[in-house]
Amino acid sequence: MSPLSRPSVPALVRFGIQVLFFVFLPTLFSAAFNGVKYIVGRIAGAEPIDSNPFLTYLIILVLFTFVFGRFFCGFACAFGSLGDWLYALSSFLQEKAGKRIRLPDKVIRVLSGGKFVVLAVVVLTSYLGVYGKVAVIDPWEIFGAFRYGNFLLAGRILMAISFAMILVGMLLVERFFCMFLCPLGAVFALLPMLPFTTFGRKREACIPGCALCTRLCPAAIPLGEDARTSSACFQCGRCAVRCPRKNIRPGIRKLTGTEIPWTATKAALLFTVFYFLV
């Protein structure tokens, strides 16, 4: 195995945390997004926005993301984790076959707008009361069913096809769903995120011609941007771990951003709030 594909300790820690959330809190993504649909639904019905458990999930996640960036995406989202694991498998197979499938950056950038389209479609159809028509291709329901051991596809063929297509996408492109389709990701992309805890890239100190970070980045964040300017960063830390000059760090000077206690604290905070408090 080349040095680049040997998993680092932080990567293993991340894998462990992803498994934890996948097993114990697999529905965070849909719960939070249901909060969005709830708000739209209430406005559509000219009703006040009362307290609602999904709304609570959404608010907590939004606040967490404001402080820590899209850590949720990188560590706690079941769909994101699924994408990571499928792509790891695909990567392994690609290496064995000696081929490498990679989308050009321009294509990635254009397709990244897709999640905003998905968000707009969901919001609009919810507002107009016709969300049911779109819901038939919602892959999340099938994923949820599989995750809980229910493999009956009766009456959910369209959903299953949609899910299957997404799985193929996840095999071909790293974080396919997250980058191109995730409406919650679109919501996060619109949020402000504090610079103190999110990764920033110091280009001045880079080795000329080195582009390791951007090549490793699952969100394909270009060299000119970083976590604070791109909003696509999942805080996975791969760039920070591998950078030969350690140029990628959070705003808090003392941190490298990849320390295990730091990562573990963020994960513990997120897990505790959702598992015990909500």
């Binding site: 708000i39 926005i49 619109l190 705003g251």
Partner: protein
């Protein structure tokens, strides 16, 4: 540089959240208004029903507060009996325009002249107070109490429904 778009996004978020709060507040007020309007309608309906009931009673001849105007009592002549010092005392109460206008002692056989004279003060008092809730005369307690009771009994059916 670090804060590219951070401030703009923050301002947008604050505006959006403020808008949602305002929206919810307005909708809650709206709901309260609707509820209050519904209450008013309900009360109106009840009022209409009660009025109709009243009119029906009036038409059928049963005396009601509506037909006795001012005073509060139902017009008519009523009798009642109470227990005096030496026997029953019967009085007759006349109500006109809702007011007690006259109280006649029809019979007070067991009372002495003296007791009766001293008791007549309660009659004036009842007329003044327009109520039988007056105190007996200390010098002729039982006789005056008997007169008060008899007026009370007479007024039982004079009080509107």
């Amino acid at each position: 540089m670090i804060k590219k778009y951070f401030v703009e996004k923050l301002i947008c978020c604050v505006v959006v959240v403020a808008a949602l709060f305002t929206y919810t507040h307005i909708m809650r007020l709206d709901k309260q208004l609707e509820a209050a309007a519904a209450d008013v309608e309900q009360l109106n309906a009840e009022l209409l029903a009660a009025n109709e009931q009243l009119e029906a009673l009036a038409r059928s001849g049963v005396p009601t507060a509506a037909t006795s105007t001012s005073g509060g009592y139902i017009d008519g002549v009523y009798t009642g009996t109470g227990q005096g010092a030496g026997g029953p005392v019967t009085s007759q109460v006349t109500i006109e325009n809702g007011y007690i206008v006259k109280i006649d002692i029809l019979s007070a056989d067991g009372e002495t002249e003296d007791q009766l004279t001293k008791s007549l003060a309660v009659v004036d008092e009842i007329l003044a107070q327009q109520s039988a809730a007056v105190s007996p005369v200390p010098e002729a307690v039982e006789t005056s109490a008997g007169i008060i009771d008899s007026v009370s009994y007479a007024l039982v059916t004079a009080v509107p429904l």
